[in-house]
């Protein structure tokens, strides 16, 4: 599988470090309303460099940091680490495994890392450019968003087709 592991700490409702290991081609994610399933999708988008706060349902980027409950203090930062299988060299780097990390502190400081070496979002975007991963619209079909391409005006639909070309 392409996505091997995902580690989520302090991101949205993941107030505790959560480690997800993927080992099959079709993984189901289930649970009651509000338990955090769509937040996992948000975590994946976010670690891949998503800039749009709105597309993560927030008002400001700080909204992705775990904001606490009655019994647990808010987190000081949100961090998501993604481990990818790169044996097919879909990403143009000479590694069989690639780790992409993103960390955001409350003061706004944002850190991207590639295999634990600090890098920039631009760098990450560049690497993902031709893999199809960089563009959210293919890899993520979000809850309640499917209708949009059919209900939008003809002029507004272009972006999906432009991304594919």
């Amino acid at each position: 599988m392409f996505i091997k592991e995902l580690e989520i700490t302090g991101f949205k409702s993941f107030g505790e470090k959560t480690h997800v290991v993927f080992n099959s081609n079709i993984t189901g994610v289930v649970g009651p309303n509000g338990c955090g399933k769509s937040n996992i999708l948000d975590a994946l988008k976010w670690v891949l460099g998503e800039k749009s706060v709105k597309s993560m349902r927030g008002d400001k980027m700080e909204d992705v940091i775990f904001s606490g409950t009655e019994n647990k203090k808010p987190a000081g930062f949100a961090e998501v680490d993604l481990i990818l299988d790169n044996r097919s060299k879909i990403i143009n780097l000479d590694y069989d495994e690639i780790k992409i990390s993103r960390k955001l502190f409350r003061d706004g400081q944002s850190i991207f890392s590639l295999n634990d070496n600090r890098t920039s979002r631009k760098e990450i975007e560049g690497l993902l450019m031709d893999t199809g991963l960089g563009k959210a619209s293919y890899s993520f079909m979000q809850q309640g968003q499917m209708d949009m391409i059919l209900s939008s005006k003809p002029e507004d639909r272009r972006h999906i087709f432009e991304e594919a070309a």
């Binding site: 993941f14 079709i26 293919y138 005006k153 003809p154």
Partner: protein, 153 residues
């Protein structure tokens, strides 16, 4: 440029038709540029006609028909330029049992090259997954990965 866009656009149109006809067991669709002289600026017209029905405005389609049509289009695009993984968040929600089944069968055409993550409340979809992750909030406001159920075979 224009040529690249048109090639991929035409391919998407063909894929869209093939997948639509698989999901609806018939019917027809068309994907056209509103202005064929300006491929890089033109809007995009979509027509969809479930089997046995006349082509009408997309808005008159039912909730489930729209959802299935959108799935056909997104996967039609996907065939042209796919990503190694795809996360689908409750896209089966408006579908009746039979259409959920057809959607799950469609995934078989893609699963070799694409890793899917299916977020769902639907029991049929759950049984299609090889692995199931349960997320819970026993402690209110804090998500936990509670269970990993691996299916044999």
């Amino acid at each position: 440029s224009e040529k690249i866009f048109m090639e991929s656009f035409i391919k998407i149109g063909e894929n869209f038709r093939i997948i639509f006809q698989k999901l609806f067991k018939g019917g027809d669709v068309s994907l056209k540029l509103t202005d064929e002289t300006k491929p890089l600026e033109s809007g995009i017209e979509i027509q969809a006609q479930p089997p046995g029905k006349r082509a009408r405005s997309l808005r008159l389609l039912s909730g489930g028909e729209k959802a299935l049509t959108a799935i056909a289009l997104m996967f039609g695009v996907y065939m042209v330029k796919s990503s190694p993984f795809c996360v689908l968040d409750e896209i089966d929600a408006p579908l009746d049992d039979q259409n959920v089944g057809r959607f799950l069968t469609l995934l078989d055409d893609f699963r070799e090259k694409t890793q899917f993550v299916l977020i769902t409340h639907n029991k049929k979809t759950m049984s299609k997954a090889d692995t199931l992750f349960g997320i819970t909030m026993d402690e209110p406001g804090i998500s936990r990965l509670l269970s990993v159920e691996l299916k044999a075979g």
